[in-house]
């Protein structure tokens, strides 16, 4: 297995910069997810690694092998990169059976018949599709096609596996099972994996690390826990899970805490953070982190309940305090018109601007 290094990777289409100066080092055997909304450049980056997109500048290296260094004559064509790739649409060749789909890359590598059959068997066994070897792709369900596509990408034992939203065409239940299974298989084979998705729950569930991307830029690179609990900016806080954003003014920014005046005149204490030049800030807090309180105190405010929504596992309430509107989530059913809520200092994050402004 090998590590993957992207250095200053930039991809431009005319005047449009699809990927801007991407730097990622994926360790050998690591499962890294590129996560972001559509159009953020995640698939573009993935296909550049595969050689199916032309990068503009930067370096792509797998192990010791440089695949791209900005010089067109050194660019390795996709067929010589020896990378496994699973497409969103699976891209199984419709005129070939499952076994023939797997045989094609092996034939191209001039692998003898006996070994070829052995490897096809092994790969189909891995994805539990051995009984379907002689079927044609159209005779398989979506989930089965997805497994065959994975087997085809693994059958020639590439050091690097790229997955482009491979689960997005499956229904919700199957998708949850498939991602667990996929992660187990990846750990077993210890193959370095880049996974592209726009589904944050999926990314949190399967990844060793996540690179959150937006508009061609990487916004944060970290473990799922770091990304969720310590978002680097308001975009990440908004995109991963969901957050309330309070407008405020920085009153005091210390080394371990900050004091902020909110739009309704109240003051709260938060961890320290950066303010905009004019002293304005936004405070992010996730709805499920806001607690009900029985007594007034620091970071506590009285809110009136505008709307109640039953979400199954929790209740969500749209609440307001003066001009501030936000959401809270709690398993408790509230009958009152107004309640006291506490905003825990340690779960707040302070950013200089709102998501979308940066």
């Amino acid at each position: 297995m090998a590590d993957l290094v992207l250095q200053n990777l930039t991809i431009k289409y005319g005047a449009v910069t699809a990927v801007d100066n991407l730097n990622i080092h994926v360790a050998s055997g690591e499962f890294l997810t590129l996560l972001g909304p559509s159009g953020c450049g995640k698939s573009t980056s993935l296909f550049a690694v595969a050689g199916l997109n032309h990068a503009t500048s930067g370096t792509i290296r797998v192990g010791e092998r440089v695949l791209f260094d900005g010089n067109p004559s050194n660019t390795v064509p996709p067929e010589r990169r020896n990378i496994g790739l699973v497409f969103q649409s699976y891209a199984l060749w419709p005129h070939k059976t499952v076994a023939e789909n797997l045989a094609f890359p092996l034939t191209l590598r001039k692998i003898g018949r006996a070994e070829r059959d052995e490897r096809i068997k092994e790969a189909l066994g891995l994805v539990e599709m051995l009984p379907y070897a002689d079927r044609y792709p159209f005779e398989l369900s979506g989930g089965q096609q997805q497994r065959v596509a994975l087997a085809r990408a693994l059958v020639y034992r590439p050091p690097l596996l790229l997955l482009d939203e491979p689960l997005s065409n499956l229904d919700a239940k199957l998708r949850e099972r498939a991602r667990v299974w996929l992660r187990e298989l990846q750990e077993r084979l210890n193959v370095t994996t880049i996974y592209v998705t726009h589904d944050q729950a999926e990314a949190l569930a399967v990844s060793d690390r996540i690179a959150v991307m937006s508009m061609g830029r990487m916004r944060q690179l970290g473990t799922p826990r770091e990304i969720y609990e310590r978002p680097a900016d308001s975009f990440v806080a908004d995109f991963i899970g969901s957050s309330n954003f309070f407008d405020g003014t920085m009153l005091e920014n210390g080394t371990d805490k900050a004091r902020i005046r909110l739009a309704d005149g109240s003051e709260i204490v938060t961890p320290p953070g950066a303010a905009a030049r004019d002293g304005s800030v936004v405070v992010a807090i996730r709805p499920e982190k806001i607690e009900l309180s029985s007594s007034a105190g620091q970071n506590t405010m009285r809110v009136s309940i505008d709307q109640r929504t039953y979400l199954g596992s929790v209740w969500q309430y749209a609440v307001r305090s003066g001009s501030i509107e936000f959401r809270i989530q709690t398993p408790v059913e509230l009958k009152e018109d107004s309640v006291l809520v506490h905003i825990p200092q340690e779960h707040c994050a302070v950013f200089p601007d709102k998501p979308g402004a940066n």
Binding site: E79, L85, F104, R157
Partner: protein
């Protein structure tokens, strides 16, 4: 797991693909511009192309325009083209709406009949019109005898234009039919739900949506009219009416006796410019046609408009059109081939004879022209399909730097009238060193036909290619296949049905072609079309109709075979 770091296909990958890209691009460029270049040179030289003492001049153009009657020739051509277009558009579009969107009785078999003329050449159709509606034609005589007069005269530019228009209506019909039947009936339903009556919905929603098809086929029919040889030759010849094509044909054929290289070149260049402009205009008018695109992936239920009491009058109208302009034309050819003298005044069975067929089949030259036609169509269509396939793959499915330019060049023959392609090849084989070896062989016919019909074949392959998702290529590339392996092992097998359709279309076009061959054939390489041209000139109508019948029968057999056995899609 162990790493296989050196895939087998590696090494020659890039070079092989690049060699194919550049090879195809070079070959296409040479074949497309090869025949045009000598014509342009000739237009600006005062002596024949091969004469080393020739000097550059614009005298050919000044001579051409000062030639008496030349203005009339250009006027005839434009008037004939415009009339062809108008007649074809009116009848074709009306038939398409009636057959495609209403509950007209017999719409299925009427629709089948409407596409017959597309399978045979203008020459056969023109001859059929001559046989039935000519001055001593079967229907003309019948009308004079039983109705007291036949008010038509085909031997005028207007008569010729109407005949050409009626015989081109099936082309408009075909294109509008596709648009009419693919138009989403939901849009019509939406109009109905907002309060429009069924006819109002048809006229306000559906008819405007076939506007692109009407515009597209209008320009196409104008071009067909301008470059048509058969009808002006058959009907204009006797009364001395000339169009640019008959001028080029006569001047070119008689070049040996009266050398007019320069004038021919100049007239050809003007025709080429006019047609190129029209093709450009067509593309320009089609810009923004996207707002009319209603074709969606979902198969929608075909909706029909109830004509009510108008069903039978409409049927009579459509049937009269089919009978008078198609059935009677084919019928006339068949009848003429089986009798010694065709007239409504003598009962048919009294003049029955097999002499026409005996005459044709007893002559080595005529038999050879039939064999050559079959060979050109069979072999030529195979070579053409392969060549066009590779062009389409490089133009649409490769990272070739100049793929757009290649497609542009490959589609340029749309602007190349058959008579100019023929003339150009004629010059080119004389002019290009070494090209003389193929002069007068069927190989030069195959090459010329292939160039002329690249756009036809491309039109059959490109849409099917667009249906094959690009991930399939990408999947193959990432699996270790270079470009050529990817297209041959993955794309081509999936394209098989489209390749059959392309082959069938090329076969039909090659088999019916005559204009392009007019300058290129020599004794030994004659084809049915050129032999018919010769016989028509001699007034040998019996053998002409026998040859035409043989051509129609072979075409029909091929069409049935291609549809049944190969599953080819030919005109719907």
């Amino acid at each position: 797991m162990t790493d296989i770091s050196h895939p087998g296909a590696a090494g020659r990958g890039i070079d092989r693909s690049q060699a194919i890209y550049w090879g195809v691009a070079a070959l296409t460029t040479i074949l497309v511009f090869g025949p045009i270049t000598p014509i342009i040179f000739q237009a600006f030289l005062d002596k024949p192309l091969y004469d080393d003492s020739a000097v550059v001049t614009i005298g050919n153009f000044t001579r051409l325009f000062s030639e008496p009657g030349m203005a009339g020739v250009f006027f005839n051509t434009l008037y004939f083209g415009a009339l062809t277009m108008i007649v074809a558009q009116v009848f074709g579009a009306v038939m398409a709406v009636l057959v495609g969107r209403t509950n007209l009785p017999g719409r299925k078999w009427l629709g089948e009949i409407f596409i017959w003329p597309l399978f045979v050449s203008n020459l056969v159709i023109a001859f059929g019109w001559f046989t039935m509606y000519g001055p001593s034609g079967f229907i003309t005589l019948a009308a004079k005898t039983y109705l007291g007069g036949a008010p038509w005269n085909l031997y005028t530019v207007t008569g010729m234009g109407i005949v050409a228009g009626l015989s081109q209506a099936p082309l408009t019909y075909l294109m509008c039919l596709a648009a009419v039947t693919k138009a989403d009936p939901l849009l019509e339903d939406a109009a109905r739900s907002t309060g429009a009556g069924p006819f109002r919905a048809l006229f306000s929603v559906t008819i405007p949506m076939i506007r692109p098809a009407i515009i597209y086929s209008a320009v196409l029919n104008f071009v067909v009219g301008i470059e048509m040889l058969a009808i002006p030759l058959l009907f204009g010849g006797p009364s001395g009416i000339q169009t640019v094509t008959t001028f080029l044909y006569n001047a070119g054929i008689n070049a040996a006796v009266r050398p007019e290289y320069g004038i021919v070149g100049a007239a050809a260049v003007i025709l080429l410019l006019v047609v190129a402009f029209l093709v450009w205009l067509q593309g320009f008018l089609m810009k923004g046609a996207g707002r009319f695109v209603t074709v969606r992936g979902k198969a929608s239920r075909p909706s029909t408009l109830d004509l009510g009491a108008w069903r039978w009058p409409a049927f009579l109208f459509v049937f009269a059109f089919a009978f008078l302009t198609i059935i009677s034309i084919f019928g006339g050819i068949f009848m003429r081939s089986a009798v010694s003298f065709l007239t409504p005044l003598i009962p048919f069975w009294k003049v029955l004879t097999t002499a026409n067929f005996e005459h044709v089949l007893g002559s080595a030259n005529y038999v050879r022209s039939i064999v050559n036609s079959v060979l050109v169509a069979t072999i030529g269509a195979a070579i053409g399909t392969f060549f066009i396939l590779v062009i389409a793959l490089v133009a649409r499915r490769s990272d070739f730097r100049h793929n757009r330019a290649l497609e542009y060049i490959a589609l340029f023959p749309r602007s190349l009238p058959g008579i100019i392609a023929g003339l150009g090849f004629f010059y080119a084989v004389i002019w290009l060193p070494g090209a003389d070896v193929i002069r007068g062989t069927i190989l030069v016919l195959i090459l010329a036909f292939m160039i002329r019909y690249i756009p036809v074949g491309f039109g059959a392959i490109a849409p099917a290619l667009a249906q094959v998702g690009e991930e399939l290529d990408r999947g193959a590339r990432i699996s270790g296949a270079d470009w050529w392996t990817t297209v041959t092992r993955i794309i081509v097998p999936i394209l098989k049905p489209a390749l059959f359709s392309c082959y069938a279309l090329l076969f039909i076009h090659f088999f019916k072609e005559y204009v392009t061959a007019a300058f290129l054939y020599q004794p030994g390489s004659e084809i049915i079309g050129t032999t018919m041209l010769q016989l028509v000139a001699q007034g040998d109508n019996g053998p002409v109709s026998a040859l035409a019948t043989i051509q129609v029968v072979i075409t029909a057999a091929f069409v049935i075979l291609a549809r049944r056995v190969m599953g080819a899609k030919i005109y719907g």
